[in-house]
């Protein structure tokens, strides 16, 4: 194992948690990410390989799907983002590439994003101050990219929580926006 110590996107060794009113905002650095884009003409075989890897069909447009170990969400036509716990899958991109072989182009995206978990009640009231997605209508299992504080972010709706991915270099800006908006509501 190499001896470089990781730093979180917010610039610390430990992830940060903030609780404001009923809402908890947690930085979640322990996720590995890899994008998977089906090669031209290989869409069907790629999806077969992804289903095997994921344990469930690759999610459709604007959807998220969880398998036993991995999960994935749709980010564009025939493009998905795969997620896995970093501790067990630091080489997620290689694993996905091995599974898809020449049916897909795979790119490590772990370092590109900061991930926040939002939990608590009234999450839509927080989100309505941040992005134009209709959280009231967004069901669990939906995943959309939208603009938050001028930044392109992925918003994934779960039953009781929301996962938010934003560009890692702007983690502080995004965190500040989340905190400010939360204080504005609660």
């Amino acid at each position: 194992m190499h001896d470089l110590a990781p730093m979180t996107a917010l610039g610390a060794s430990e992830p940060r948690t903030d609780t404001i009113g009923p809402i908890r905002i947690t930085e979640a650095p322990d996720w590995a990410l890899a994008s998977v884009a089906a090669r031209l003409g290989q869409e069907a075989t790629c999806q077969t390989a992804l289903r095997k890897l994921l344990g469930t069909p690759a999610p459709g447009v604007a959807a998220q799907a969880s398998g036993p170990v991995l999960s994935a969400f749709w980010i564009g036509p025939h493009i998905w983002m795969f997620e896995a716990p970093y501790a067990t899958h630091p080489d997620l991109a290689q694993q996905v590439k091995a599974a898809c072989a020449d049916t897909a182009s795979v790119t490590d995206q772990t370092g590109a994003w900061v991930r926040f978990e939002l939990t608590g009640r009234d999450l839509p009231r927080l989100m309505e101050r941040l992005c134009n997605l209709d959280m009231g209508a967004m069901q669990a299992g939906h995943a959309r990219r939208s603009v938050i504080e001028h930044l392109g972010c992925y918003v994934i709706r779960h039953e009781d929580s929301i996962t938010l991915y934003g560009p890692r270099s702007s983690a502080q800006t995004l965190h500040h926006a989340l905190i400010t908006a939360a204080r504005s509501v609660f």
Binding site: L4, A5, P6, Q109, T110, A112
Partner: protein
């Protein structure tokens, strides 16, 4: 004065406030206007042009007169309508546009000069001499005119923004809005009910009549209570929907904390909402219009409905004795309400000879108010009776009713034009409404309470049916259903001034003048007289103005038409439009992986786009930036330096056609680049101008990593996606940005390899033979950390760029510094980076400036003729490839210590500094510690042929004029021995 009983105010609680330096008391539920009237204050402001004393005209947001400066310091807010300011304890407001005081205003002299200050006066009076305009006329006019003053201090309060979605947006919570919300709310639709008032109910709060044997305001409160209990209904009081935009999007401002002395900690003062709607019901009600007559602007003269509202809602009468002047039945209702509350009504003056009977006061049918008296407040009116005689009436207030205008503003925001409806003598919304909008109630010309209640329910049900939601209409409560009876009457004929637009001081005379001078279309009338151009957009004045123009031209009002209403419906503060994006938060900040480390080192940072990059790293004892930068350059060239280059854009290009795709995207050849090698690439725009440059590293047959300049990371990605999806849709190529996924450091200098060998795991041979210039590889560092290594050089030294996953970027820079201590490794910032690239003659943003071609950049031969690439054809255009085309060259000053100003233009010795003598320009300049001389690069006509010649670099901006020698742009190591070492 406050009446003994009644009103929707909390009499048990007293609020202190201050106006014009005096202290007063009011109650919760009061507006500033109602509280002032309760304290006997009728004079609240001075008019814009003539500085005439003014009081309230209305009881709502259409108020043109009672404008005050609210609060002080950074919170000072000019042009606030006293009629909508919710009273809070400690409120203080100041009158505006009056000096030295509200009661004695020196510029009231303008009133005496009114014959000279008619419409269009400044177009005529100040025409000449032209030189006087800026120095004399404009300052005088600026001082005399205008409304409140703005604070120069920053606003201390936060503002917020947000996005809302609904099936049905209901604008206005009067009887129709409440019925609509009830209908849609019970049907389960997602409903937003927004109202500008702090108390929902609209006119129900201002009227005395009953709904189902309840007071109207109580009925409204009961409905609001039910709506609150419905989770699918969002009630938004204190929220003004100010604009109807494309495709069902509305803008609204919620005044979250305006009714508090200061916002609660963390809470916004106001919130700007963008509301996405499927359907919108406009229930904005109607606005009463005044009648113009001589001296109709004295404090105490107001619309009849305002008088009624003050009495009913706030239990306030502006005076003990009042009179009413009307052309319709609604004025009778005002008289009746006042009498019922014990206010003495001197007379009910009705312009209609056949006016219905009135009880409790004298009815003067067929009579007109021909003049008024009272300098700082109304003392009496002069009435011309039906028989031609005149009569004076003593009164401290006059309620005027000229009929009601449906509030059509929002229906016009998408270029809709209302239509004239004779029945109510007013414009009503026509068919050309904004997408998804339906109009109900008084806004649609239905004025009786019964009609508004029924209309609200019916139109809401109709909207829901459109959306496939079934709604059951609630039972309609009992309510009055009087017909509208009006005989249009716009102005009393007079030689004296009769006001139409109170805020901009436009009178009937001004309209006549406009007509006389040919400004007859309503749009010309508006601009010539400024009618309706004040902050109230002429809500109370437009109709009167165009009715008079119709009279003068002999056209009907329908033919005359209306001017356009535009957003915002009422003024919107700049602060709320900015929302959270102020100061540091104006735009996102991007931090590099080494940011925290660099901060610890005391680095000076510079904004590069959104990135914060270390500009230089000052050391103890260094007093100027140049000392630091010179040291960083020299240390790098002498031993080794390190620089965070993460900000360069990185795009992962994969697919079986990846090589061919790059071959077409770059003007130079890429198809045959071997795996494990990097190549410089120049991208052109389709018009042949250079777009961006960078490197492409081939990691596998079907896998490249492309870099872009920091500034163009986003545009280049967009451009490549365009090429992939639109130009060559069947190429097998996939793109994704990886800029942020990797922390990347340039390690440059003669000792770069030795330093790297201490970091790169021993399994990887990075000797010059195994890993030559322009090699690349996927490797591991620090005992197994995955990494990418590129042997590329921007500095001209033996150099590498090393990338690791972003989370290890901080640890890596610390490791590089620790392992490099024996070589005295020196961190360098963007300034040293810039100096070294100028010394090496590398083009950057200053050279790729959107005007230059490959030929200009000295890379003309790179544009391959053997393939089709973007921009290749047009780059060969005749005009871009002339013999004397600009060429990138270097400049050295004759005196090494003479600075060459960047941006300077090149001239022959002795040539005049005129465009005809221009030979080119300097793009980048610096001091070169390596050459111990100032140097520069730039573009010179036919530059390659002029090596060794002496020219001048002259800057008319800085006044510098320097003799320079034309040299190669490659100042340092032109043969490239160092970078291949």
């Amino acid at each position: 004065m406050r009446l003994k009983a009644g009103g929707q105010i909390d009499r048990d609680t007293k609020l202190s406030f201050r106006f014009d330096g005096k202290h007063y008391k009011g109650h919760p539920g009061d507006t500033l206007a109602s509280a002032l009237l309760a304290n006997g204050v009728r004079l609240m402001g001075r008019s814009f042009k003539y500085h005439r004393p003014r009081g309230v005209l209305t009881a709502g947001s259409d108020e043109p007169n009672a404008l005050v400066e609210l609060r002080s310091g950074g919170r000072q807010e000019p042009n606030t309508r006293a009629t909508v300011v919710e009273l809070f304890d400690g409120l203080h407001a100041a009158p505006q546009n009056a000096w030295p005081s509200l009661r004695f205003d020196a510029l009231a002299i303008n009133d005496k000069l009114s014959n000279f200050l008619t419409a269009g006066f400044y177009y005529k009076t100040f025409m000449w001499p032209a030189a006087f305009w800026e120095k004399l006329y404009e300052p005088i006019i600026r001082r005399a005119a205008g409304l409140g003053s703005i604070t120069t201090q920053p606003d201390p309060d936060p503002y917020d923004k947000g996005f809302l979605h609904c099936d049905l947006l209901i604008i206005g919570a009067g009887p129709s809005g409440l019925m609509a919300a009830l209908t849609a709310g019970r049907a389960g639709a997602r409903v937003i009910l927004a109202d500008e008032d702090f108390r929902m109910g609209g006119r129900l709060n201002a009227e005395s009549y009953a709904i189902s044997e309840m007071a109207g305001s109580d009925w409204a409160a009961q409905i609001v209570a039910e709506l609150v209990s419905l989770p699918n209904v969002r009630l938004m009081p204190r929220t003004t929907v100010f604009g109807a935009f494309d495709h069902g999007i509305y803008g609204a401002v919620e005044r979250v904390s305006d009714h508090l002395p200061v916002p609660q900690t963390g809470k916004p003062r106001q919130t700007l909402w963008r509301i996405y709607t499927r359907r919108t019901l406009l229930c904005a009600g109607a606005l009463e219009r005044p009648i113009a007559f001589a001296n109709n602007d004295r404090p105490g003269i107001m619309t009849a409905s305002a008088l009624r509202a003050y009495v009913n809602r706030w239990a306030v009468s502006p005076a003990e004795t009042v009179a009413v002047f009307t052309n319709n039945d609604d004025g009778h209702r005002t008289a009746a309400d006042l009498i019922a509350k014990g206010v003495k009504v001197a007379a009910l003056i009705d312009t209609r000879p056949d006016a219905p009977k009135a009880a409790g006061t004298e009815l003067l049918a067929g009579a007109q108010v021909i003049d008024t008296s009272g300098r700082l407040g109304l003392t009496g009116v002069t009435v011309k009776l039906a028989n031609g005689q005149t009569r004076k009436l003593a009164c401290g207030a006059l309620g005027v009713s000229g009929g009601w205008n449906p509030n059509v503003s929002l229906t016009c925001h998408q270029r809709g034009r209302p239509a004239w409806e004779e029945r109510i003598a007013a414009f009503v919304p026509a068919g050309d409404l904004p997408q998804g909008m339906i109009v109900a109630g008084a806004a649609g010309g239905q004025f009786s309470t019964h009609a508004t209640l029924a209309g609200g329910a019916e139109k809401a049900a109709q909207a829901l049916t459109d959306l496939g939601i079934t709604a059951t209409k609630p039972d309609l409560p009992q309510a009055e259903d009087a017909p509208t009876r009006i005989t249009p009457f716009w102005h009393v004929k007079s030689d004296k001034r009769a006001w139409l637009d109170f805020q901009n001081d436009v009178t009937v005379k001004d309209v006549k003048l406009a007509h006389q001078e040919g400004f007859r279309s309503v749009e010309h009338l508006k601009r010539y007289t400024t009618l309706g151009m004040a902050t109230d957009q002429g809500k109370t004045s437009n109709m009167g103005g165009l009715a008079i123009m119709a009279e003068l031209t002999g056209q009907s009002i329908a033919q005359t038409g209306t001017t356009m209403f535009r957003p915002p419906y009422t003024p919107v503060a700049m602060g709320v439009l900015a929302g959270r994006s102020t100061g540091q938060d104006f735009r996102p900040t991007r931090l590099t992986p080494s940011h925290h480390w660099a901060k610890e080192q005391g680095a000076v940072f510079v904004e590069v786009g959104m990135w914060l990059r270390a500009q230089w790293f000052p050391r103890k004892g260094e007093t100027t930036w140049r000392e630091s930068v010179d040291r960083e350059v020299s240390a790098t060239r002498a031993s080794v330096g390190v620089c965070d280059v993460t900000t360069l854009g990185k795009i992962d290009v994969q697919g079986t056609d990846a090589a061919e795709f790059l071959n077409r995207s770059y003007c130079n050849a890429f198809a045959k680049l071997p795996v494990g090698r990097v190549r410089y690439g120049l991208m052109l725009r389709e018009d042949g101008i250079a777009f961006d440059d960078g490197t492409a590293a081939r990691l596998a047959e079907d896998h490249f990593v492309v870099t872009t300049t920091t500034a163009n990371a986003v545009p280049v990605y967009r451009h490549m996606e365009f090429a992939r999806q639109c130009l060559w849709p069947d190429m097998d190529v996939q793109l994704i940005s990886t800029t942020e996924a990797w922390a990347q450091y340039a390690i440059a200098g003669p000792n770069a390899r030795k330093l790297l060998q201490k970091i790169v795991d021993p399994a990887f041979d990075i000797s010059n033979d195994a890993f030559p210039f322009m090699a690349c590889a996927e490797i591991t560092v620090c005992n197994g950390c995955p990494a990418r290594l590129f042997r590329i050089s921007f500095s001209g030294e033996l150099a590498y760029e090393l990338a690791v996953p972003t989370r290890y970027g901080d640890a890596l820079i610390r490791r590089i510094m620790a392992e490099g201590a024996e070589f005295d490794v020196t961190p360098y910032g963007t300034e040293a980076l810039g100096v070294m690239r100028i010394e090496k003659g590398h083009a950057a943003g200053n050279e790729l400036n959107g005007q230059t071609t490959a030929l200009n950049l000295g890379m003309g031969r790179m544009v391959s003729e053997k393939k089709d690439s973007i921009g290749a054809v047009l780059s060969r255009r005749e005009g871009l490839s002339t013999a004397d085309a600009l060429k990138l060259v270097g400049f050295r000053p004759k005196n090494p210590q003479s600075r060459i100003p960047a941006g300077a233009h090149l001239l022959e010795k002795g040539a005049k500094m005129i465009v005809a003598n221009d030979l080119g320009y300097v793009t980048s300049a610096c001091y070169s510690p390596t050459l111990e001389s100032y140097i520069a690069i730039g573009f010179l006509k036919n530059g390659q042929a002029r090596m060794g010649e002496t020219l001048r670099a002259a800057s008319p901006l800085t006044g510098e004029d320097v003799e320079i020698e034309i040299v190669s742009a490659h100042f340092v190591d032109p043969e490239g021995d160092r970078l291949r070492a």
